[in-house]
């Protein structure tokens, strides 16, 4: 950058501090490059991947219920991100509800719906329209979706009984069979 010239009358003392300043500037520059590289690497990751431990969260449903790690322990959990303004979400809503009613009596499967960036009135209307009975709640502050690094709606994450992510669907389910095919292997004996 702006450097001292090689003038004959220049005293040597200031040179040392300028040298340190220069070294510091280079270090800062390379630190910046490294940081940017790390940032890009991290962004390349995409949503949480299969096999990883899922981020923990507590959901407060529209009914006021709290569903957290305790309620999810030892169960196969299907986590579905949706929004009332999302047209593709409507395609899978009925299927999800039917499959829920199919698995509910077993007791070891839990379906959770997360309303992403939605308004309460519109969400409740959506739930009523599709007669959804599994627990639904707003993703407050979009914290849960950010933890899962979602990129839109609808997205579904299926977590096995040990808390590991086992299935990711980044678009609407096309049939009930598809959903069941994802859940059945996780049920165990």
């Amino acid at each position: 950058m702006n450097e001292i010239p090689s003038s004959p009358n220049e005293t040597p003392a200031p040179k040392a501090s300028i040298r340190w300043g220069r070294i510091l500037a280079w270090i800062a520059l390379f630190a910046l490059l490294v940081v940017v590289a790390l940032v890009l690497l991290q962004r390349q990751q995409g949503p949480v991947a299969v096999g990883q431990t899922v981020p923990a969260f507590t959901l407060t449903t529209f009914d006021g219920q709290q569903i957290g790690a305790e309620e999810m322990a030892g169960k196969v959990v299907l986590l579905n991100f949706w929004a009332s303004w999302c047209k593709p979400c409507e395609q899978e809503a009925a299927d999800l509800e039917s499959v829920w009613r199919y698995y509910q009596p077993r007791g070891d499967v839990l379906f959770l719906g997360l309303a992403w960036t939605d308004t309460e009135t519109a969400s409740l209307e959506y739930i009523e329209e599709f007669d959804i009975t599994y627990p639904n709640g707003p993703d407050l502050g979009t914290r849960i979706s950010q933890a899962y690094r979602t990129t839109g709606v609808p997205e579904t994450y299926i977590i096995d009984k040990n808390g590991l992510l086992s299935y990711v669907k980044l678009s609407p389910f096309t049939s009930q069979a598809e959903i069941k095919a994802a859940i059945d292997p996780l049920l165990g004996p």
């Binding site: 702006n2 090689s6 940017v36 940032v39 890009l40 390349q44 950010q146």
Partner: protein
């Protein structure tokens, strides 16, 4: 067939570029003129080859070859011909090819100049240009291939590939998706080419800088050679930015021209550093100073240009987030990293050669003020860079909060928005400083200015501008930012006019020339300086426009029935009629007719429209605008509620002075033409014949 031809020429161009790089390198190392000339020919060959590729795409676009994926993405049957041609830069794959074509055009133009006195630069300039070209060709060939086609697989799905995969057959859609409606505006058609011209042209000074570093000719020669290129690059980049602003104003429908969006900022950053470079090289030419700094500036400009190319809208990347997740991200980051590090290593290698041996004599000398100018531009760049990168950075650093729970309240990893409020709160200060400098710097001289000499030169224009401010206060202006802004603007205008007047008058007196002729010849004698002053004037006019719209904009919105009216300030807007119809090119248009009254007097009619494009299911609002130098009345048809004659919602903006933003840009283009115009007198002073011609190449 045509697609294969286009792709084949891309590959051939790439191979030719690689050959050119190797030939240039070896030619320089071995001092072999044959090899260097061969590299030069390779450079020249890339242009016709890429022209064939570009024509191939244009052919496919015009003739609706929807089996090619790119054609489907950006054209459709209902688009008019001229839009189909400009769709070449409507999507990422096409615009990358377009960029490569422009790069080869400019590099070929440089290669065709006379190289007699700078023979040692030629191989390195060729090498750098070809390396840049080769990188973009790699992207076009391997990652964003515009010639990829659709294929039917046996299982019934559609896949994309360049060459037919086994067992598939060509799939030809009936129609394409059509160009994004937002891109169908004249400003958006010409904005990407202008921006790319600016980007590409900045590669040339960079190539010369690298050549200077490698060959050790670190004097001002490389700067003098690229002087015109720098101005040309600067004016295209500035024009590209202004066109983008105009497009945003006309089409995006929020009554503004700049949103501090990451995409906009990524084109603004090279402009900031490029402008700093433009000024800083003058110091090196006049006083031999700042050699190291100029190298850093041009290297930074180059890498920011590459960065900006990828974030531009025609590349369909809407933000740094989107870019970071694309396939291109790592490749381009790698290229920037490698070029930056290599260039800096070269600079460090020549560090001592670049040391300037001239000292600064005064804090108020012109070179000191130029340094201040650089500080302000560089500071702006740092601020904007930080604002662009912070959201991505803070989100990525969330991983620290995840791994170390005690720090999770600090490193939350939550997405944040760094929006206009943040930028505007900070950047006004450096901009005000730059305005002030535009007024003071012409009054200071190289080396020998003091506070006293500047003060003496300054007091007349300061007084005049103070009178302007007093006038404004008397008329009723109370806003302090506005008064400060207008004071600075009028100060610079007075100083600039004074400079013109002083020189013209002196010449008129000395040579007894007609004043106007004196004016003309005076400009001709020092085009760079006076062209520069005209550019500054243009900037001031733009500043006036910006002050008007930023500080005094008013807006209102309301739903009125037919015959109803809305009032804003002195204006009344009356809703006359609404017609809704379909057009031949696939749009549903809702067109309202409104009458505008000012202080009760009828002044005209406006036609705000809402276009809905069926194929892309996208609405677009086109404002009805009445524009005068005094103010703009900007009427939008808004569809918060369904539009009908019984109730239509209008949003009206009153934007004072924004006309000057556009007029000012015309003035700075004029100034650039003056500054870049070739001088008739020979630049060099040839020494007489007794010196043996040993070094002629």
């Amino acid at each position: 067939m045509v697609a294969n031809l286009g792709y084949a020429t891309l590959i051939i161009t790439f191979l030719v570029s690689i050959y050119g790089v190797v030939a240039a390198y070896l030619g320089a190392r071995r001092n072999s003129h044959a090899l260097v000339d061969s590299a030069r020919n390779a450079m020249l060959l890339t242009f016709p080859l890429l022209t064939i590729s570009a024509l191939a795409i244009i052919y496919l676009l015009i003739n609706g070859h929807y089996e090619v994926q790119y054609v489907t993405e950006v054209t459709s049957n209902s688009m008019p011909l001229y839009l189909k041609i400009t769709a070449l830069w409507g999507g990422q794959a096409g615009s990358l090819l377009f960029w490569s074509w422009l790069m080869s055009a400019f590099a070929s133009a440089v290669t065709l100049r006379k190289w007699d006195r700078d023979r040692e630069f030629l191989p390195w300039v060729t090498l750098v240009s070809l390396v840049t070209l080769a990188f973009f060709l790699i992207l076009s060939i391997f990652v964003e291939n515009p010639f990829i086609s659709f294929w039917h697989t046996p299982t019934g799905s559609i896949t994309t590939a360049m060459f037919r995969p086994a067992g598939t057959s060509l799939f030809i859609p009936q129609d394409g998706n059509g160009l994004n409606p937002l891109l169908r505006h004249p400003g958006m058609i010409i904005h990407p080419p202008m921006l790319y011209l600016g980007f590409v042209a900045f590669v040339i000074p960079y190539a010369f800088a690298i050549a200077a570093l490698v060959t050790g000719r670190t004097d001002a020669r490389w700067i003098r050679l690229t002087r015109r290129w720098t101005i040309v690059a600067w004016v295209f980049l500035s024009l590209g930015l202004v066109l983008g602003m105009r497009w945003a104003y006309d089409v995006l429908g929020w009554g503004g021209y700049w949103g501090w969006d990451p995409v906009e900022n990524s084109a603004f950053m090279p402009w900031l550093i490029g402008t700093a470079f433009l000024h800083s090289v003058i110091v090196q030419e006049k006083r031999g100073m700042l050699k190291q700094w100029n190298m850093v500036l041009i290297i930074l400009t180059y890498d920011l240009v590459i960065f900006g190319t990828f974030l531009t809208r025609s590349g369909v990347l809407s933000s740094v987030h989107a870019f970071a997740q694309s396939a291109i991200g790592p490749l381009f980051f790698g290229f920037i990293g490698v070029t930056f590090i290599t260039s800096m290593i070269l600079v460090i290698y020549r560090w001592d050669d670049l040391k300037s041996d001239v000292e600064m004599t005064s804090w108020f000398s012109r070179e000191a003020l130029f340094l201040l100018n650089n500080l302000l531009f560089f500071g702006l760049f740092i601020v904007i860079f930080w604002g662009v990168i912070f959201p991505v950075l803070s989100e990525a650093l969330g991983i620290v909060g995840q791994k170390i729970p005690s720090l999770s309240s600090i490193f939350t990893g939550q997405k944040v928005t760094v929006g206009p409020q943040w930028y505007e709160g900070i950047v006004w200060l450096p901009f005000a400083g730059l305005l002030l400098l535009m007024g003071i710097a012409p009054l200071s001289s190289w080396q020998y200015s003091t506070a006293k000499t500047i003060g003496r030169a300054m007091w007349k224009p300061s007084l005049a501008s103070l009178l302007v401010v007093i006038g404004l206060v008397l008329v009723g202006f109370r806003s302090l930012p506005a008064l400060l802004g207008f004071w600075l603007c009028s100060f610079v205008i007075f100083v600039t006019f004074y400079e013109f007047w002083r020189a013209a008058w002196a010449r008129h007196h000395a040579r007894n020339e007609n004043l106007l002729l004196a004016f003309w010849f005076m400009i001709g004698k020092n085009r760079r300086r006076y062209g520069g002053y005209i550019i500054h004037l243009g900037m001031i006019l733009m500043a006036i426009g910006i002050l008007g719209i930023e500080l005094f904009q008013e807006q209102t919105q309301g739903t009125i029935p037919q015959g109803g009216q809305i009032e804003i300030g002195q204006y009344t807007v009356k809703f006359d009629s609404l017609s809704v119809f379909d057009t031949a090119d696939g749009r549903n248009v809702a067109r309202a007719v409104v009458s505008v009254y000012k202080d009760g007097r009828y002044i005209g009619e406006l036609h705000p429209r809402r276009d809905y494009y069926y194929e892309s299911q996208q609405p677009m609002t086109i404002a009805g605008v009445r524009s005068t130098p005094e103010d703009d009345l900007y009427v939008l048809l808004v569809d918060w509620q369904p539009l009908s004659t019984s109730a239509a919602t209008f949003k009206i903006y009153h934007n004072p002075l924004v006309w000057w933003l556009w007029f000012g840009s015309i003035v700075f283009i004029l100034g650039s033409v003056v500054a870049a115009w070739p001088s008739k007198e020979p630049e060099m002073v040839m020494v007489s014949k007794s010196i043996p011609e040993t070094s002629k190449a």
